[in-house]
């Protein structure tokens, strides 16, 4: 089984496709099994007068002291260095499925594309649907299909970035797989992490999924146009989020109605 994506050997691994390009499996399964079976049992039975059994089972202890996520961290740092050198402001957008990541992206790209150069990396288990939505706005986009994987990892972003040929002084939006648990542990090399929650979700979500809110810098509360119809206490939601992460910056928006988007746009513009 492949560890990056949890796929089998039947081609279920991540697929990275630039919009308009042919679909192909692009994943390096670096499973190199070098099983050197050289059994050397040094049983030297020298039967002199007394018994001297010599077992040389060379049991050794290696002090490893290595972080399990170091590979992901290493490539994330490499991505980050690339973004910094080119003054690319990279954002990692995370949320549960259906909170409106893609809708917020679409609205933002449509409203700001004349002012700022944007690039998008879309992460989903399957389909090119989101990449199609972004490409319809004439924005360069690469779709990563993780197959069975539940989150993006820095090596996938590394490969996707190579396909984008980004200009300096631009913004890269990385839309993670819709999942409020797994992506929290995987740094992609982004400058800021943006967690999106919608008013139709429970106000205690930050407490239920604290790791994601703990690692985020910005929290966008989407679908505020639905506030009259849903039973949610916005102050309580924010307090829960601040309890997990007192440094969060909030934006309250409706991606479909366009309400509140200006504050978010100002923040984006101030970053580049």
């Amino acid at each position: 089984m492949c560890g990056t994506c949890g796929c089998g050997t039947d081609g279920n691994g991540p697929t990275i496709t630039k919009h308009g390009e042919h679909h192909h499996h692009n994943h390096n399964h670096g499973h190199s099994h070098s099983h050197d079976h050289s059994h050397e049992h040094g049983h030297d039975h020298t039967h002199d007068h007394d018994h001297s059994h010599e077992h040389s089972h060379k049991q050794r202890v290696i002090e490893v002291e290595k972080d399990v996520l170091q590979n992901n961290q290493l490539l994330a740092s490499r991505n980050r260095g690339y973004f910094e050198a080119k003054n690319i402001f990279a954002l990692n957008l995370v949320s549960s499925p259906g909170s409106g990541k893609t809708s917020i992206l679409e609205r933002t790209l449509n409203d700001l594309k004349s002012e700022l150069p944007f690039y998008v990396i879309e992460g989903d288990q399957q389909t090119l649907n989101d990449a199609d939505r972004i490409a319809a706005l004439d924005i360069p986009v690469v779709q990563i299909n993780t197959g069975k994987g539940c989150h993006l990892e820095s090596d996938m972003v590394y490969d996707a970035v190579k396909k984008l040929n980004m200009e300096n002084d631009s913004i890269l939006m990385i839309e993670n797989v819709g999942n409020l648990v797994c992506p929290s542990m995987f740094d992609l090399g982004e400058r800021n992490r943006v967690v999106i929650i919608s008013t139709t979700e429970g106000e205690d979500k930050p407490l239920k999924y604290p790791d994601m809110f703990h690692t985020a810098d910005v929290c966008i509360i989407n679908k505020i146009d639905l506030l009259p119809y849903v039973n949610i206490d916005m102050d309580r939601l924010k307090n829960y989020a601040l309890q997990v992460n007192p440094n969060l910056t909030f934006f309250e928006v409706s991606a479909t109605a366009g309400t509140g988007m200006d504050a978010w746009y100002n923040w984006l513009q101030s970053k580049i």
């Binding site: 560890g3 099994h33 079976h37 930050p206 309890q243």
Partner: protein, 113 residues
Amino acid sequence: MHELSIVMGIVKIAEDETTKVEAKEVTNIELEVGVLSGIELESFNFVWPSAVKDTVLKNAEKTIHIIKGVGKCVDCDTEFNMENVYDTCPKCNSNFKGILQGKELRVKSLEVI
């Protein structure tokens, strides 16, 4: 189920380290897992057997050291035990704290033959 990726990360480290010292397989692996690391041990143990199959870890015993969470309040300097990342200071109730330990996710040592 990011635990699978985590175990595969451990397998990668174990494979690399055993190759380095030209060992054949791992007999014991010692891990450090902090309670705030985001790892669900039940899932972790569930995916372990299938993830280590056909690797140097296939026969390895695993020893997991659980590292408890400790935070230090930024406002009043109180050190306190943490079970969740959102735990507040027991003395002044502040949300602002530094996590001193509990985020660990580390391969500590390997016993190889």
